[in-house]
């Protein structure tokens, strides 16, 4: 069995083992299997990378033929090039440490085995997604991570709100998947194959028989479903109903980046589809800004981070839209570290505060949970873009190419993203201040139990903080250059590179300063501003009422039409009504004819005679 197949199958084995035997064999077994197998996958991924670098050509492994119809073979095959390598290492690496974190976080949970089974299942599907050679395998992984997400968001299913959030995630993803399927079908029609490397090569080698832009837009619809871009972003904040390690792994580090990976993987298509790329960039930037504005008004620690994720994903798509595919993947890489660190840090805070998630009831925790605070601070600085932390490098590259790329970069795009960066620094440091600094607003009963988390949790936080700090020095765009060349830069923009970097740092500093100004100390100034702009604050806090809009425009009409038009009018009144009318007509006709059967002997005699006379008359006439 090949290395790639093994990388994919080990987590599946974990799912089966933990799912079937976990409850019987106890927590130790579940922890060892649940964390060990992903670590083994990580190790194998490293080995695969070394083999890749040694060999030079991408590694292809065919597992088996799924279907052979006509001339097309749909194969289950795996493909390992540098892009897949980066993604696989992030997925298995960050995935493994989050598994280890979960041993601490979920330690007291009744369904410990089920949790790890689902996490391993997720890892299996995610690896299928990043290692798949054909879009079919990718789609299997794509839907599979949707399933895992559904199961994990609704993990504590006894609360109906959690189950509803899981369903919302799945359905929203499915809407995106409809677009994805259509894009896949179009590409299949054009190329007779779904192998992404072959499709890419076909696009790069000459004109193609199908509109690249149309395919690009359709695939992007799928990507925006999975990666929570406008207008399919609504599921991600609700997904915070799941346990925090789930939020970290699935809704920050890995699953939501699947859309980014898809577009990067299909870079050959998008290089030939300027309209689609422009759309990607526009939506990415709009989403980034939109989500950042909502984040500044949220009071749930996980929701702030959720909207932050949506915003950062917008950054990645903006980078993809201007042709800087390698840079987008770089941001996936760094974002995985600092966002996972932030989420797990939030989990540590929630754990310390016995379940409190509202930041208005936090504060002054820096001294009580110092390790969590330190790692959270590092990660926050990283996301704000402070050099030399990881976020600075990746975000700065994105800003640069947004400005200068010859494939759609413009000052407007840069301005939107820069404003978003300002807001990002602002709301992240707002979060930091309200949670860790200032006066403690923690309720008394909770305050007694505030304690630092166990080493299984804080150890992971430290690892991720270090990666957030130094991860930026790994030159991912350069590493991916042969595969995903960086776009050309307009000559006129070149001298602005250094000034723009300085400006970016200044923006980050300004955001931090603003946060300190408003939220430092008693946060009185923030409260005052909040009151003056109460209307705006309400709109932001209610996420621009998008959910309510969807409910009113789609949800309720759908149910109303199904109930009243289809069921009552269509099925019952029209179709069944016609049937019942036919039956009634048959019965009525029969009743009419039955009136001859009066039971009167004399009438019968008369009718017999009349009939006989008529027959005789007829015979006499015609024969």
């Amino acid at each position: 069995m090949g290395t790639l197949t093994l990388i994919v199958l080990l987590p599946l084995l974990g799912f089966l083992a933990n799912g079937l035997l976990g409850n019987a064999l106890g927590k130790r077994f579940v922890s060892v299997v649940g964390c060990g197998l992903p670590l083994a996958s990580f190790a194998l991924a490293v080995l695969a990378l070394r083999a890749l670098e040694a060999g030079g050509a991408p590694i292809v492994e065919v597992a088996y033929t799924w279907a052979l119809i006509g001339d097309t073979a749909f194969e289950i095959a795996f493909y390992f090039d540098r892009l897949a390598a980066v993604m696989t290492l992030v997925v298995t690496g960050v995935g493994s440490v989050i598994h280890i974190y979960s041993t601490g976080y979920m330690h007291d949970d009744r369904s410990y085995a089920r949790f790890f089974a689902y996490l391993n299942l997720f890892l299996f599907f995610m690896l299928l997604l990043v290692l798949g050679r054909s879009m079919l395998v990718l789609f299997v992984g794509w839907e599979g991570v949707g399933l895992a997400s559904y199961l994990l968001i609704g993990f504590w299913y006894e609360d109906p709100a959690n189950a509803a959030a899981g369903k919302k995630a799945f359905i929203t993803n499915r809407v995106g998947d409809a677009g994805f399927l259509l894009g896949m079908f179009l590409l299949y029609f054009a190329f007779g194959t779904l192998d992404m490397d072959r499709i890419d090569a076909a696009f790069m080698s000459g004109p193609v028989a199908v509109s690249a832009s149309l395919a690009g837009v359709l695939l992007f619809i799928g990507a925006s479903g999975k990666s929570a871009q406008i207008p399919l972003h609504v599921w991600l904040p609700d997904a915070m109903a799941g346990p925090t390690p789930v939020s970290a792994l699935i809704h920050a580090a890995t699953m939501v980046t699947a859309g980014v990976y898809l577009v990067a993987r299909m870079s050959g298509l998008y290089l030939n589809a300027p309209e689609a790329s422009a759309l990607v960039a526009a939506i990415g930037a709009a989403t980034a800004f939109f989500a950042a504005t909502i984040a500044i008004a949220q009071n749930d620690i996980k929701r702030v981070l959720a909207y932050s994720t949506v915003s950062q994903l917008g950054f990645m798509f903006a980078a993809l839209g201007v042709g800087a595919y390698g840079v987008a993947i770089f941001h996936v890489f760094t974002h995985a570290f600092f966002k996972a660190c932030l989420f797990l840090g939030a989990g540590s805070v929630i754990h310390a505060l016995s379940g409190e998630q509202d930041i208005r009831r936090m504060g002054g925790l820096a001294k009580k949970i110092p390790l969590t605070f330190a790692t959270f601070l590092v990660a926050t600085a990283a996301i704000a873009g402070i050099p030399p932390l990881a976020g600075f490098f990746s975000k700065d590259e994105i800003l640069w190419f947004a400005f200068a790329s010859a494939r759609g970069g413009s000052p407007l795009l840069w301005a939107v993203l820069a404003a978003t960066a300002l807001l990002t620094a602002f709301y992240m440091f707002r979060l930091l201040w309200l949670v860790f600094l200032g006066r403690s607003r923690v309720t008394p009963e909770v305050a007694h139990h505030v304690h630092e988390s166990p080493w299984s949790m804080t150890g992971v936080l430290v690892v991720l903080a270090i990666l957030s700090a130094f991860g930026g020095f790994v030159a991912i765009p350069h590493f991916l250059e042969p595969l995903l060349p960086l776009p050309a830069v307009a000559e006129s923009a070149r001298p602005l590179h250094k000034p723009l970097i300085a400006l970016a740092i200044a923006i980050a500093a300004a955001g931090i300063a603003a946060a300190a100004y408003f939220f430092g100390g008693e946060a009185k100034r923030a409260a005052a501003v909040g009151e003056r702009f109460a209307g705006v604050r309400r709109v932001l806090a209610n996420k621009y009422y998008v959910d309510e809009l969807y409910e009113a425009a789609i949800g309720r009409p759908l149910l109303w039409i199904s109930e009243h038009v289809f069921l009552r009018l269509g099925d019952r009144a029209l179709i069944d009504g016609t049937l019942h009318a036919l039956a009634a007509a048959a019965r009525g006709g029969a009743a009419m004819f039955a009136r001859v059967q009066t039971g009167s002997l004399q009438l019968y005699v008369f009718l017999v005679l009349a009939g006989a006379a008529a027959s005789l008359l007829w015979i006499w006439r015609h024969v």
């Binding site: 009136r595 001859v596 059967q597 009066t598 039971g599 009167s600 002997l601 004399q602 005699v605």
Partner: protein, 100 residues
Amino acid sequence: MDKVQLLLTLAAALFALGLLGVTVRRNLLVMLMCMELALNGANLALVTFAHQMGEAVGAVLVFLIFVVAAAEIAIAIPIVLLLVRRKRTLDPGAYSDLRG
């Protein structure tokens, strides 16, 4: 009108009377009597034709009909009696249990 025509007319009249009686009279026994009348109309026609053709076949058939009619009445009257015992009336309109 010669003798044969007169007799046939009489036979037809008897038959028609009998038929009419069966159809309109509301008394089972009278209906039976009318059926006999119709039978005798047919008998008369048979005898007339026998006389006209000089063959004896018609007359022989009449004897057969007499016997069959007698047997028929012997069965029909008791049936009517049994029926009347159930419904206490001779009106055929009362016997409509097989109504549709």
